[in-house]
Symmetry: D2
């Protein structure tokens, strides 16, 4: 039976590109077409991704508009700032999904302050769990997949914002991310000898590039004057993000109200699971899958709601959300081809 759609992946030798291919290989409606990259054009794909053995002997082509054109879907898994110009040269009727940051922010000034490069404009945002977002993605031809940290923090707090339990002001978010979130460029501080057996903090003091995207999402969820103190930590594991998000609540808010809000917001969501009371997310339960585990409660002494959320940074945090959004754009069932069950232990 012929597949219904063809897909190309630009940046196929990196982690996000490889994850897109891993998922697309199991997608029943997608035939994998061009695989392109920058400096590793000409190499054998198996050298970069030995796990993707059905594609191992494919030769990586160069990332050019010509090589990407002629596909129904084009995934861009490029460094931040690299997809804006390329995207302009791609066919308007192709579905282009940017896994990088270039087309996420609706506010040009926020982009310029954090990225120091020309603003490329905003595309429909590929996080279908946001209220009203599925409608915007259905039939879209351009989609900006969310950042992994942003998806985690947003899904942690969304029910509380939507239900008016918090107002998006004075949020704090701290968590640990697997090293694949830092990409595949060979740098000394990401060597296994450096990352194994320890943790470190980075992007401290409000300088992390994903903060404006978090604030934008909080606004989309109803916040007026959102503010967030966000500090990521690098954790000794290849995949997975676990974030702890807190926000002040009025004295009138109860633990029961918080629980109801989360159950209500995520009822029927195919990928988001609210855990039982008193059970807290573990990143291994969602590893390699598009699933999200979340829970929240009240800390009465501190006067804060505390939410914990976990997802796989490469799957639901990047390529999985991209394909989930692709399914919506192409009119396929939203869960098509996406793993539901994490690989544990």
């Amino acid at each position: 039976m012929p597949m219904s759609f063809t897909a190309a992946v630009a940046g196929c030798t990196g982690y996000a590109g490889g994850e897109a291919l891993r998922l697309l290989l199991d997608h029943p409606e997608i035939e994998i077409g061009a695989l392109t990259a920058g400096s590793s054009a000409g190499s054998r794909l198996g050298d970069s991704h030995p796990n993707l053995w059905p594609l191992a002997d494919r030769t990586v082509a160069e990332t050019t508009p010509q090589n990407l054109a002629g596909h129904d879907v084009i995934f861009l898994a490029l460094p931040h700032g690299a997809s804006g110009e390329l995207a302009e040269q791609l066919p308007p009727d192709a579905l282009v999904i940017d896994c990088g940051a270039d087309h996420r922010l609706t506010d040009a000034s926020r982009w310029e302050r954090f990225y120091h490069s020309p603003y490329a404009g905003a595309w429909p945002y590929g996080l279908p769990e946001l209220p009203g977002q599925r409608e915007k993605l259905t039939g879209a031809h351009r989609i900006a997949a969310p950042g992994c940290w942003v998806a985690t923090v947003t899904l942690a707090l969304a029910p509380a914002l939507v239900h008016g339990l918090v107002d998006g002001h004075d949020v704090t978010a701290v968590g640990g991310s697997g090293t694949s979130g830092a990409g595949r460029a060979a740098t000394q501080h990401l060597l296994g000898s450096e990352t194994a057996g320890g943790m470190s903090a980075y992007g401290v003091g409000g300088v992390h590039r994903h903060i404006p995207e978090m604030l934008q999402n909080f606004e989309a969820l109803g916040a007026r004057q959102p503010s967030i103190s966000f500090t990521p930590m690098l954790a000794p594991m290849p995949r997975g993000i676990l974030a702890v998000v807190t926000a002040p609540v009025d004295a009138s808010v109860s633990a029961g109200q918080i629980r109801e809000a989360y159950l209500d917001s995520y009822r029927g969501e195919p990928f988001v699971h609210v855990l039982p009371e008193g059970v807290w997310p573990a990143s291994k339960s969602v590893l390699g899958s598009n699933a999200v585990s979340v829970n929240a409660t009240l800390d009465p002494q501190a006067g804060r709601l505390v939410a914990v959320c976990t997802l796989d940074n490469l799957t639901k945090g990047t390529a999985g959300s991209a394909i989930q959004s692709m399914n919506l754009a192409l009119g396929l069932p939203e869960t098509t081809g996406l793993p539901l069950i994490g690989v544990a232990p």
Copy 2:
């Protein structure tokens, strides 16, 4: 040359007891005496701690007042709630150092609310870096070593509290701890198959037992009405704690003031190192040592001070602080026998 003092370790087969022995073996003024335990009495110490080979063939005795008496120093590395009764039967002129929680809290009601067992009273607190604490430890005969999470969070925020940049209200603390912080009891959720490759949150919602000890320290540092939202995460590593602590600051507070406060507070401290501007702690730099790495800055957008602190939960977080305090109590130079340099990579 004969050693000056003898030391016994109760609970020698656990992680805290083993770490105390690791450090005492290198201490030039301590001769190791009785090694005692509960259910593993009668075993060979090498079965529990193969790294402690000079003691490998020693037989573990039973933890009784009789076996512990007759030593100059007695370390209690017992489960929370187990040392109160034992301690009462130990000689008053011996130096008894409790590595558990039983003698840390000065407020009986806080103890009872979190520990559900009889209150045993408070002993001088073994964190010499707190202002005025060295005086209290010098010549002491009873010392309560700090909890590992508490030591990390307290050292992260102390300079800001002392310098009046924060008031201890609405503090948030989130971090990752190595699995040895959870002790050595064989439980399924601490199996390597469960902990490797992922993170999880626990004690969420203000229920962690170490919160009252944090609040007590904040008060000792000048806070009037402290409050804290504290959420620990279990990280896939055997040792080390890294905590991110935030607290609201007035708009008048500058990043420069914060830096000055930290440099000022920790100037001359033998074990605490304030990192250069823009460099953030990594837990591996202090592994196996009594060192602490800390840094702090302002997040102007969030209106919060952000401090990051790391230490080895078994060394500076438990047995190292215990021995540092012992040195003060015995009149020895404070750094005697304590490793200054972390084992990295």
Copy 3:
């Protein structure tokens, strides 16, 4: 569309049982029926396997013949020695697949020497890659899934034995296994604090229980007087086995002959991949999948063939081979429902 077959899993709260369920949840022809266990009967399955969220609220039943009867397929994921007696009470026309060792050995004396318990007889062996084995599994009602170490070592050496390049004498095998291979019983030496960051050897000196199963496989592959020195190591990872197997070769054997043998033996195998020349297996390429990576060459100085093989101990090493064999027994396409692509990085 109704599923074609129902399956029960005995021992569902352990790692092998959980892995079987993870795979069965994605199997298009299997409806999951009874979930049973011993001491954890009565618990919620989500407490044991939070990743298996579609089954999270199922209550675990007790492992009894009555609870298991009435299913088309019954998986036994029990401790060694526990399935023999139970199996006798299961319906003869059900397909019973034993993931434990009880029904693997055809020689009663080998069983008794290594297992010290009554011999339960041998069932068709669930490693379809062995020559002639698919025929024996087709239509079978009893299947003994292979041991994970045995599958790895056997697949490493099989082509060389089949092609007569080695004779099964003086084989050596050493490798590293993830901790899940040691099961889920809570024991101190398997705590994450013990296993993280280090390796250890175990079962040294020819005492490992899986040695007779290796020798039996070598014999099935043509060896007359096989002998093996096998030493496993525990590696700091939750899943995966990587084994290095050597065997003496005649001076006339060339590296080219070895390569040809491996390419020939595994040509057309859906799950076994012979890597390109000079590329050596990495366990992460097959993680969570039923795939096997293998390669071999000549060490002319040592006069030995050296083969390296990797697979996921829980998937292809246990539950994956069980389901692959089940597919054959039920007349389904062999690869039905089995993941082909490893989750990497």
Copy 4:
């Protein structure tokens, strides 16, 4: 009190150089002098080794003979092939210790076959545990520290060779090494995302550069025609080597004879510990220390002696053996300044 000797470290920003500095900082007779490097000359040492905080603000000088001259001891921690030429320009009366391979092999043809660069000649070999080696190191001015894999395999087999239980023929050695053994150059396959959670084999088929050094040691221990099949694996841990070494024995050799040989050979050795019968080495017991754990037994079915040995690749495997040899050369007690106790858990 002034230190007795000054030491310079060339290649101070790599792992071997950093480990030498970690140990020298605790050495009571050494004052640390020049710190030099190649491409990272001019940087702050704390940027490379944040754990070495007493040296954090030292500026790294360029590696030149001028900068290294004028010290009593000069450590060369350079890439293989880089120290030969430099060493010729260093003062003959300084003690020069090469942590690289350049001066280990006594046979020029072996060097040239494996290293493809000019032969620099052999220096006294820095493994004091070899019979007669302490005499050669006492008063030496040039020392070649052993390779980490070679030290492990040699110490595993030495007692059996010395006692004539094996003859060095048909040895096999397989083991796992921490990633720091592969150095600190930033390469993609050593990223934490690649190395965490899995193992891989490398240098398969007799091509590993350390094989000639192993054979040379076997010859020094009495072997006539040694041969070895050696296969290293990369393990997901920063430090530590664990090797399993086997060799054929005559039918007359008993397990008791093997045990006696190991106890006899290592009696009185300050750093090498023969474990009790049936207890096998774990790499974590020696982490960060100069200790070696070893044990051996007979596999009667396979007709082979099986020895397991572990050490820390950076300490006893490189910088620790270098300093142990330095102590001998300078006339200091052999254990001066070297950690005896591993950091565990």
